[in-house]
């Protein structure tokens, strides 16, 4: 008779009971995790790192997500020829030694004799030669082998790499950037962008990928035996997805050991809880970019905008306590390439800005609005969702100075296409100043949306070319000092603020941010050397 009664009632009860049980389980939250961890034979030797995003893809060179953090994780599993010491200087990696020839056109490398792939096969010069050839055939996003002329295998662990043109930055650039692949695994792989089985993650690094849960964004790395660079400090490293709130809470209960990137405004909580916090400017500087093919062709107009923008007010309003004023001459304090000579800092000076604009022929109407060729000047300011706050402050400052500003906040891919079409006047974007200065050419003259898109300037281009082929560090530094003066004067883009980054550690380990960034210039403290004894 009462079909509904019989059908619904027990179900409902069961459901209610399940909810009740689950709520009950909330009372002893974390117990499951604790018991599991206690069951581990060597609990102290486990390290748990949190990442707010989680899934970074399979940790193999061609298939991880194309960002710095995914590259960083993959570097725990794959070695490069040259590694870094704690100060960020080149240190032996897979290559024990490297010798530059007199003419600078070749390098002799001697590999670590006892390096092994995670499947036990020895790492040989043949693998290195194979990797360089393979990357010529299948472009690798984080390092180009275009500058290489050829590779000669001289023995099981000896090889000579020939390059087309002498370049100073090869060791800190290419040799430190590209992961060496196992020939016996990758040889038969036609399309490495679709090779994402667990075999793809067989590297020679100190940790091997033991488990990867894509849905949960969780990785388990296991220490290898006898890595030539040292004994792994932790038997296991977990990388788990966790937002900052949950991470801080889990750190207090001892469930996690490192919060990879804590938003700097949460620092007081971390410090209050007594954790070791390492902070550093990210050197991913927020810049005001100009359309050099539109309103901002002349240097004076760009300088006028720089004087009209009050960076200190921007810092206080949009970045209270979480950023520093940026240097206007490209390199930021802490970089070994930063020049000692001061560059123009464009202290807020609207009067000077006005004079500069009037001198270039722009006029101001009675209401103070700027005019050029009889029409009012409208500035289209583009930015993506991450920079809305500073973009609003800058738009207001420029409005107050007499410009009509169209602020357009766009999704990244749409923004890129507008920039490529030149359909803008100003952009607000963050871009790194880290990595080997070999990348300056692309960052300043490149056509990408996060490049300055500065038209070829003979003086600056000359300096950039000269530093690339410099014979030694001192010469390179001197050339780059001149470049910095020119950069601040010409303003390919106006460096505004340098946001801070923070990593939180408990007592298991702690390390400062690596000066100059990790490998390709990733601002991080978590270089793999800190996980080695």
């Amino acid at each position: 008779m009462s079909l509904v009664h019989r059908f619904v009632h027990p179900r409902f009860l069961a459901h209610a009971a399940a909810v009740g049980l689950a709520l009950g389980a909330a009372q002893y939250s974390g117990l499951g995790a604790d018991t599991l961890m206690a069951a581990e034979p060597d609990r102290q030797r486990q390290l748990v790192i949190t990442d707010s995003k989680g899934d970074r893809g399979m940790l193999a060179p061609y298939v991880h997500r194309k960002n710095g953090i995914a590259y960083l994780y993959t570097s725990y599993i794959f070695d490069t020829l040259v590694s870094q010491d704690a100060d960020g200087n080149p240190a032996p990696g897979l290559a024990r030694t490297w010798t530059r020839s007199e003419d600078g056109l070749s390098y002799d490398l001697e590999l670590q004799p006892d390096a092994k792939w995670h499947d036990g096969t020895p790492v040989t010069a043949d693998d290195v030669a194979f990797t360089l050839r393979y990357m010529a055939e299948h472009p690798y996003v984080f390092g180009s082998v275009k500058s290489l002329a050829g590779v000669e295998v001289a023995g099981a662990h000896d090889l000579r790499i020939h390059i087309k043109r002498a370049q100073y930055g090869l060791v800190e650039g290419l040799f430190s950037a590209i992961p060496i692949l196992p020939r016996h695994i990758y040889e038969g792989v036609e399309d490495p962008f679709r090779f994402a089985t667990s075999d793809a993650a067989i590297g020679s690094g100190p940790y091997r990928l033991a488990a990867y849960d894509k849905a949960q964004g969780r990785y388990r790395l296991e220490a290898t035996e006898n890595h030539p660079l040292g004994r792994p400090r932790f038997a296991q490293i977990w990388i788990v997805k966790m937002g900052p709130d949950a991470a801080l809470q889990a750190m207090s209960t001892g469930e996690v050991d490192v919060i990879s990137y804590l938003p700097p405004d949460r620092l007081p909580e971390a410090l209050g809880a007594g954790f070791a916090v390492e902070t550093s400017p990210s050197d991913h500087v927020l810049r005001l970019g100009f359309n050099h093919r539109g309103q901002f062709q002349t240097k004076e107009v760009r300088q006028a905008i720089a004087y009209a923008v009050d960076r200190s007010a921007l810092l206080e309003t949009a970045f209270p306590g979480v950023a520093e004023l940026a240097e206007t001459g490209y390199f930021q304090p802490g970089s070994k390439w930063k020049s000692e000579d001061a560059t123009e800092s464009y202290t807020y000076d609207p009067a000077r800005a006005r004079d500069l604009l009037l001198a270039t022929g722009w006029t101001q109407d009675s209401a103070g609005r700027w005019q050029a060729q009889g029409g009012e000047i409208r500035l289209r300011l583009l930015t993506d969702g991450r920079e809305v706050k500073p973009a609003k402050v800058i738009a207001e400052q420029l409005e107050a100075f007499g410009f009509a500003v169209d602020l357009r906040v766009m999704e990244m891919a749409s923004l890129r296409s507008l920039v490529a079409d030149g359909d803008y006047d100003l952009t607000l974007f963050s871009s790194s100043t880290l990595g080997d200065p070999g990348n300056i050419s692309r960052r300043v003259f490149g056509r990408g949306w996060n490049s300055d898109r500065f038209p070829a300037d003979p003086k600056m281009t000359g300096l950039i070319k000269a530093q690339a082929v410099a014979q030694n560090q001192a010469e390179r530094q001197e050339i780059l000092a001149q470049f910095q003066q020119l950069y601040a004067e010409n303003l390919p883009s106006y460096m505004l603020v340098n946001p801070l980054m923070a990593t939180v550690f408990n007592d298991k380990l702690s390390a400062p941010f690596m000066s100059g960034g990790v490998a390709i210039g990733i601002p991080s403290a978590l270089h793999k050397s800190i996980f080695l004894e």
């Binding site: 079909l3 499951g32 590259y71 296409s417």
Partner: protein, 347 residues
């Protein structure tokens, strides 16, 4: 109670076609035509999605290479990569290729995830399914129960207290509801996890693991259910008010049957067809609401997958997910409509 059916349905029952043979055949034909209609809609969705997604500015490779660390690839290298990734040619040839693959049952390959789309969907769908299926009893039973209580005594205590609360709940978009729940039970009174689908270190035994999964699902399920709860509450309340006037209820009351039997066997049972037909259009709403909820709770379901596919311009994944979800929704919708029409007819 045959004549009660039309008022219980929120859409009109198709009028009968004269001379179309026996009633059973007619009903079956209507059931089938419903399927054909949905199949047409499905095809339209596939066409629209394949073309529209590729009309967004930027493409997969461009987005992949927009990282700050990528070296500048030469034009030749970019072409080489485009070809290798199947992004060469114009929109037309890409769409054509995609349909070819789709017809042979291949949902495509996600380049940014480096995995077949089907595999990605199969990992994500169970989580989305868990949230939707878990939310259903909450709003169906909870909404109906409260609605019956309120409808039996309009202006009574239950009605006076519950109706305003439910009205407020109804005005909250699922996104806001999710954030509120997160704030209340995840942060201010941290009894439930704030994100993810499982604990940091899931238990190795089945019961423990299931418990962990359930705990993580509670808040997103509630967030999903809260919004729909209001629809079923008002539906049940209105229908109960309506039914209270009907002879068979008055009669039953007069006979002095127990209040619980009246609620379940008389009112509740009469509500089933109405609730079912409402459920079929609720499904679409649930599927779109689950996206927001998953994003708020970093829940590893299809919503999260689709969101990332849009940002990455991951065409195959976006299309695969939309085609899959549209297929599931239309199929469920067809089945529920068929079932509710059947129940309504039977009374």
């Amino acid at each position: 109670m045959d004549n009660a059916s039309p008022s219980l349905l929120d859409h009109s029952v198709p009028t009968e076609i004269t001379g179309a043979g026996s009633r059973a055949v007619e009903r079956f034909a209507r059931f089938l035509s419903g399927f054909v209609l949905r199949l047409l809609i499905f095809c339209f969705v596939i066409v629209l999605c394949a073309v529209l997604s590729r009309m967004m500015p930027g493409d997969t490779l461009e987005v992949m290479l927009s990282t700050d660390f990528a070296r500048g690839l030469g034009a030749g290298e970019v072409l080489q990569l485009q070809e290798a990734m199947g992004l060469g040619g114009g929109i037309a040839s890409q769409v054509w290729d995609y349909w070819g693959k789709l017809l042979s049952g291949d949902l495509g390959y996600s380049i940014p995830h480096a995995a077949p789309v089907l595999q990605l969907l199969l990992t994500a769908l169970p989580w989305t399914g868990l949230l939707i299926l878990g939310a259903m009893p909450v709003f169906l039973i909870g909404g109906a129960l409260a609605g019956i209580e309120a409808g039996q005594l309009p202006g009574g205590t239950v009605d006076r207290w519950v109706t305003p609360v439910v009205t407020i709940l109804a005005s909250l978009p699922p996104f806001t509801g999710a954030v509120l729940l997160l704030l209340l039970f995840g942060i201010l009174w941290p009894v439930l996890p704030t994100g993810g689908a499982e604990p940091l270190f899931p238990s190795t035994e089945h019961l423990g693991r299931a418990m962990g999964v359930l705990r993580h699902a509670i808040l997103p399920m509630l967030a999903l259910a809260l919004h729909e709860l209001a629809r079923f509450y008002f539906l049940a309340r209105a229908e109960t008010l309506n039914l209270a006037q009907r002879d068979f209820i008055v009669n039953a009351r007069a006979r002095g049957i127990s209040p619980w039997r009246l609620r379940w066997a008389y009112i509740g049972r009469s509500l089933v067809p109405a609730c079912l037909s409402r459920l079929s259009d609720t499904l679409t709403g649930l599927v779109s609401a689950v996206f927001f909820v998953e994003i708020v709770f970093s829940y590893p379901g299809t919503g999260y997958l689709i969101y990332s596919a849009i940002l990455d311009r991951d065409y195959d994944l976006l299309q695969g997910a939309v085609v899959f979800m549209a297929g599931v929704v239309l199929l469920m919708n067809w089945l529920i409509d068929g079932l509710s029409a059947h129940l309504a007819r039977r009374g």
